[in-house]
């Protein structure tokens, strides 16, 4: 749900109607494309070669640091629900380690 520049969300009556009109996140063709993309350009390798922090990662960093300071955590166990490739924290690792 990154920035959009045109209308790409269309109101539906209920979840079932929206689902019926949709192809879905688990379509084989999409999953195959995502895996192909990762193999071609592993995001963790790109991120490891250059330290570039996006705005949303700064927001995540701020929240994680608040939790860490509040509890004096050194080890943090995170459940990233729906986190896709799970790469949003990789630049943060470089900053905090």
């Amino acid at each position: 749900m990154a920035t959009t520049y045109s209308e790409t969300f269309f109101r539906c009556e209920n979840y079932q109607e929206a689902q019926k009109q949709s192809l879905g996140y688990e379509e084989d063709s999409l999953v195959d494309k995502l895996v192909e993309n990762i193999k071609r350009e592993p995001p963790w390798k790109v991120i490891n070669n250059e330290l570039y922090i996006e705005h949303r990662q700064l927001e995540l960093l701020s929240a994680v640091m608040r939790v860490s300071f509040e509890n004096k955590y050194i080890n943090i166990k995170i459940a990233d629900i729906g986190g896709g490739m799970g790469t949003c924290h990789l630049p943060l690792e470089k900053i905090l380690i």
Partner: protein, 156 residues
């Protein structure tokens, strides 16, 4: 100095497909439909809660095992009820795959009523780099850090 233990909970097919990258990435993938037995310090929902069929049921499930919740890149609207939409794509890999899926816009009041049942808001923020268009309005994504109550309704 912080040591991360990072586990991504994804849909069954995606978790299975991505798990082949665990060794090289250092990231673990688990099926979100499976039993969630381990406790975590933080449950992170980054642009994901709005894509769940039953978002608040899942939120309570993870709140029962996490001390804090970071919920970010949320589309909140000033309506009395949550709104369900179908999202389409005009560019990128999702467009190439002709993808589309249901996406919620959450009523701000109702969203924070749900959060109050789970824990205490420590702070909120807006994400000016992520603005989406919906029915002629520009909606800036938002985020919230929540300290989870010791006893969450539905826990156990």
């Amino acid at each position: 100095m912080i040591n991360w233990d990072w586990t991504v909970f994804e849909s069954d097919k995606v978790a299975l497909a991505y798990s082949q990258f665990e060794k090289e990435s250092g990231i673990k993938w688990q099926k979100s439909s499976g039993d969630f037995v381990d406790s975590h310090d933080i449950g992170l929902f980054s642009c994901s809660l709005q894509y769940l069929q039953s978002p608040f049921k899942v939120l309570r499930k993870f709140a029962s095992k996490c001390k804090y919740l970071i919920i970010m890149r949320l589309p909140l609207i000033d309506e009395s009820n949550h709104v369900i939409t179908k999202q389409i794509f005009t560019e990128g890999i999702y467009h190439e795959a002709s993808s589309s899926w249901p996406a919620w816009f959450f009523s701000k009041n109702r969203f924070y009523s749900e959060i109050e049942k789970i824990g205490k808001v420590i702070y909120k923020w807006k994400t000016p780099t992520e603005i989406i268009h919906f029915e002629g309005k520009s909606i800036m994504m938002e985020g919230v850090l929540v300290r989870v109550n010791n006893v969450v309704p539905g826990r156990g």
